[in-house]
Amino acid sequence: MTLAEQIWQFFLSGLTTGGTYALIALGFSLVYNATGVINFAQGEFVMLGGMITAASMTAWGLPLWSAALIGIAGTTLVGIALDRAAIRPARGASIVVLIIITVGASIFIRGVAGIIWGPDERVVPAFSGEAPIGIFGANITPQSLWVLGATLVTAIAMWLTFEYTVIGKAMRACAINPQAARLCGIELSRMISWSLALAAAIGAIAGIVLAPITMTQYNVGTMLGLKGFCAAMLGGLGNGLGAIAGGLLLGVLEALGAGLISSQYKDAIAFVVLIAVLLVRPSGILGGRRGGEE
């Protein structure tokens, strides 16, 4: 294997991981735009998506697609519940208090998942087989294509929502200027509910497409959440396009770092890059404009 081939392999592997980071980062950005809160329970949405899907497949013998729908629906409900039960009652509290509330909620969700499903990892079968696909000398699994496809489709769907639907426009308005939006008759709290529901659904999608690659477990949310957050910061928090770019970039950098520099410091690489970028461009690589204007 030549070095160029190796780098190509690193790149493709990184894109796959980056696709999931991008989806998670998108969830962070959505909630941040609507509430100004960094929702540390975002990683748990990813876990829930995968776990509910896996559990409903084993418990009720459902086919993958319906289990996946249940996974997305269930997680979305949890997202709405999180808003109703934890974020809405604390409206007006300081950012730190809200951070702690989302952290508390994530601990709670993880704990309940641990009790219901136990500590063992669960398997979700690959959507279309495991036979590796060769692309110019590098191998990826068909599931990688599913991850990238899901990222792309979700990104386009989000863009369409924000550009062409009333709710999407209303959410954008709230992000840009909540006061003015309210004067136009937009109910802020409903928009926040919407954004959490959407963030949960996107997180669930990430969890479901990722599960066949990595399996899923009640405690996978924390690290995935942190990486997704890192990606969101990297791209510019609150910027949808930035979240996707940040996620893909982070995934590729991690894979290149692990392959070319040191696999031992892989987790540190992500955060070193983040700090470096923050110092040079505090608002992220695509930051500068606030709120889903893209």
């Binding site: 039960a85 934890a86 009652p89 604390a90 509290a93 300081s94 950012i95 730190v96 208090v97 951070i99 702690i100 509330i101 952290v103 508390g104 909620a105 994530s106 601990i107 709670f108 969700i109 993880r110 704990g111 309940v112 641990g114 009790i115 924390t222 942190l226 957050f229 890192c230 910061m233 031992q264 410091y265 987790d267 540190a268 955060f271 070193v272 983040l274 700090i275 923050l278 110092l279 505090p282």
Partner: protein, 349 residues
Amino acid sequence: MAAVREVPPDNDVHDEVLAATQRRRAQKVQIAAFFLFVALVPLAVHNRYYLHILIVVGLNLILATGLNLLMGYAGQVSLGHAAFYGIGAYVSGILTATYGCNPWAALLAALAVTSLVAWLVGKPTLRLRGHYLAMATLGVGIIVVVVIRQTTGLTGGAAGLTEIPSMTLFGRELQSNMDMHYFYFVWAWVCLLTVLFANLVESRPGRALRALHDSELAAQTLGVDTAAFKVRALVISAAYASIAGTLYAHSSMRFLSPTPFGFHTSIALLVMVVLGGQGTLWGPALGAVTITAIQEALRPYADYDIVVYGLLLVVMMIVMPGGLSRALGALYGRLRERVARHRAGDVAR
């Protein structure tokens, strides 16, 4: 009260000074009472388990007090404070276990290293507005754990650093398994650092910091170099964490591994400060005691403990966003008012 209101407005400043003096006097009484309480505790507690828990509370108290300076007074959030704790612990541990250094020299070296790291992190990020320090410290928290894990030759990596010698005091070894001695040692530090903290926040830089917390713009207008003050607050709070780390390294574990210095500890510290009440003298202490007590009380209920813990965090933060100490203060105020009203009613009748 009525008398105060009749005083002409130019005396407002005088009143404020008076109030500050009164507050300081009250604090001195509180601190003295606290000292006395701590000194008496081992008379009532003989069980080594409870003494151990009290040592853990002490360490958490030091950490929370340091973090309180940063959060409650400089208005900045650290999501990776456990990293400073870890650096303090590991520098002490490595210097004493591997290089046979005196624990006190190691304590100073750990202080120096931790402060330097904090300065390096804070200097560039604190010039920026917004919560960039939070992001940077989150990253630093993870990087530090990865580095500890990977520099196996130095730190023992994930397998841990063993055979850390015990602390010495006046040339005598503090038998770390005799928890009573170590209890006094740790709580002496707690008292010292609390007094230091109380003086710090009442000093000129402390008042500057509080101004910073209230309004950064106003503080700047008054000629406060806000960035410099924030960096100083970060360095001091990291130094507190470093001392706690050294004390942890020489505790009865005499063993270090990266696990206790991860993200979950950073979050637990954040929770202690906010739950107790940031920006108050006793709030974080209250938070440290509460959280440690909750964690200990829940220990027998494996599986269910984190569910209850998570739920408690959410509920307590919703009910008391200002923290326990303020909620208790308000409760006390309301009670007094009710009693006063009751008396007034009696008189009227």
